[in-house]
Amino acid sequence: MPLTTVHPQFIIKRDMDLCIQCGVCTRQCSYDAQKIDPEDGRVSSDPRTCVGCQRCVTLCPTGALVVTERELHGRSHPNWSLQVQRAIHRQAESGGMLLTGMGTDKNYRIYWDNLVLNASQVTNPSIDPLREPMELRTFLGAKPERVEFDDEGNPVSQAGPLLTLDTPIMFSAMSYGSISFNACYSLARAAKNAGTYFNTGEGGLHRDLYEYADHAIVQVASGRFGVTPQYLDAAAAVEIKIGQGAKPGIGGHLPGEKVSAEISATRMIPEGSDAISPAPHHDIYSIEDLKQLIYALKEATNYSKPVSVKIAAVNYVVPIAVGAVRAGADIVAMDGTRGGSGATPTVIRDNVGIPIEFALAAVDSRLRQEGIRHQASLVVAGGFRNSADIAKAIALGADAVYIGTSALIALGCHMCQSCYTGKCTWGICTQDPYLTKRLNPEIGTRSLTNLLRAWSLEIKEMLGGMGMNSIDSLRGNREMLRGIGLTTEELEILEVAPVGR
């Protein structure tokens, strides 16, 4: 390795009393941080290339390894932290933009932690979900303005085409290419098991996943990869991807070396060529253009499935989301600044976009003020960590949520943020067959199905505690939320009362 001014980010500690020199760590490490001497067979570590993925630590049979983040070196400085210095060193050496993966690791406030949920006491008694039915079923799409009945009492109002979810949690867009086939396969099967949907991202739908297409939301992004009449026909819903919370306003590209034969066939581009998604859709420069594409997709699918528009939460998310609804979107998906990515410039991930809590509250309020809230469902994404975050989002006005990062953690991700290297040791964010086989899709499916089951049980428990037996009673019910440690202005935007009031 050439001499560098970049300091290692991690320390690899090997307890030599425990180490049995078995070499598991060297086979597990795809970053050359664990090595075996070909002559004497001794293992050694090189912290300079370690990304902190914890694979070797987890698989070491004797527990001999510890990988920790390197704390300060030399003299500390609040402005010039080790992280800041490392970034400058790397850029001074390469002249390139810094890339990263996953959602921002900057310490932005997580407003879910400043919101608390209500529960019943004495009046409106709480309900025990173990003995009473508890409804999580959620329908996404355009609803009628009011429900009308004929003379015999039968409903005559028509809703648009709807997605039916058994739990208000869907898997966020992650393309085949950004993640491995086994990861996609696990997501697809878990979505089917749990009665919900996965999202193909913009990488097309692999031919082996067509049997799960009735649980797929397929994306049409600026690159239009793999978008064919069959792809649109097979899907449960079509999503126009405008933006992503981790990288609002910029496009993306899958480097040619990741475009393998299978990915080439799924994206329908030549093997080894860059898959470039331009920043904007070049056929959408206005809300009117967006409407044109929404209706092009509705025409192409004979108005048989909902069309979603996914946008990143940015300063003017309110007029954009309202515009999307007025343009005919059946679902508006919003991705907050903590949303994840397989590869994104660090500077964008860490500095662009607004937290989903405010985007959701503001958009839901405006849609209600304009009397068009029923015309589209709101799906939110961007760092949902647990069922409480989800319950709070639904109380703030969401119809459902997308989870991406938490699903990947369920599959084994340890948040090393090195997805962009394509060397994911957990077999998730890589196309290297030696690495992808580490993710067993049977186990992956079970883990994801378990996660959805566990969170659904918890949501039912919270609902029961509030004296509700249906998720619909919580939806947009901000009376069930109180804010703690928030400014008057923040409470005003969230339309949530402070605790104690």
């Binding site: 390139g96 239009r224 064919t228 040619g256 860059d274 470039i276 070049h282 092009a296 410039p345 290297t421």
Partner: protein, 244 residues
């Protein structure tokens, strides 16, 4: 089958066409078409559709197979994400034609507007072909990833540039042919414009033969003209932007 489009909303018109296609109809004549959008959209059969009048935006969007022949000019978004089929425009075409098109052909006899052939791509035996008889405006061939984009410059006033500014920006695949001079200032870095060789002329002859037949144009004379070929330097234009 003849359908009078007057008084019909595009949704009704398209529904009638699709219903007839489902029943096996293969020949359509649409009359009094006036701005009806999405004609041919989502149809995956090789049916023939003749359009009398002016079709609306997104003609042939997401379509896979139909052959649409128009009578005059057409509007924006022709062949958006088109998979296969043919669109023939004897007049002029609007903006954003052939966006992300993957297969099939679009033949325009006259001029075309801005953002033509952006991000067309090819895959295996699928190769989109867009041929414009006249000139195009700015941003032509941006992000071109595959396919053939041909600008013939027929019937242009002397000195009229055949392509606009920012031509072939971000191009990383495919080929663009322009019949005439291209001011290097109109091209973005990362692409080269060179004179064509004999191989190219054969490619052009094959591609232009059905085009010339469609509009009764002299093939030999057109193929024999001065052509410039625009190709990208690399299939990896963004390879050097990042620190790994």
């Amino acid at each position: 089958m003849r359908i009078d489009a007057s008084g019909l909303h595009y949704r009704q018109l398209n529904q009638q066409i699709k219903a007839a296609v489902a029943e096996g109809e293969t020949e359509f004549e649409l009359v009094n078409v006036c701005g009806h959008r999405y004609l041919g959209s989502g149809i995956d059969q090789p049916v023939n559709i003749r359009v009398e009048g002016i079709p609306g935006n997104d003609l042939g969007a997401f379509m896979s197979g139909p052959r649409i022949r128009c009578s005059g000019n057409a509007q924006d978004g022709i062949g958006n994400t088109m998979d296969d089929g043919l669109v023939v425009i004897p007049g002029h075409a609007g903006d954003v034609m052939g966006y992300s098109m993957r297969g099939g052909c679009i033949y325009v006899r006259g001029n075309a507007g801005y953002r033509i052939g952006i991000h067309m791509k090819s895959y295996l035996d699928k190769e989109p072909v867009v041929i414009i008889g006249g000139r195009v405006r700015d941003f032509c061939g941006e992000y071109l990833a595959g396919g053939k984009l041909i600008v013939l410059g027929l019937d242009q006033p002397a000195g009229e540039p055949l392509v606009g500014k920012y031509c072939a920006t971000g191009m990383h695949g495919g080929t663009m042919y322009v019949r005439g001079e291209v001011d290097p200032a109109l091209l973005r870095p990362g692409v080269s414009a060179t004179e064509i060789g004999d191989d190219d002329r054969q490619v052009l002859r094959d591609l232009l033969a059905p085009y010339c037949a469609e509009f009764s144009l002299p093939l030999d004379e057109i193929v024999g003209g001065l052509f410039v070929r625009i190709t990208p330097h690399t299939a990896r234009p963004y390879g050097q932007l990042y620190a790994y």
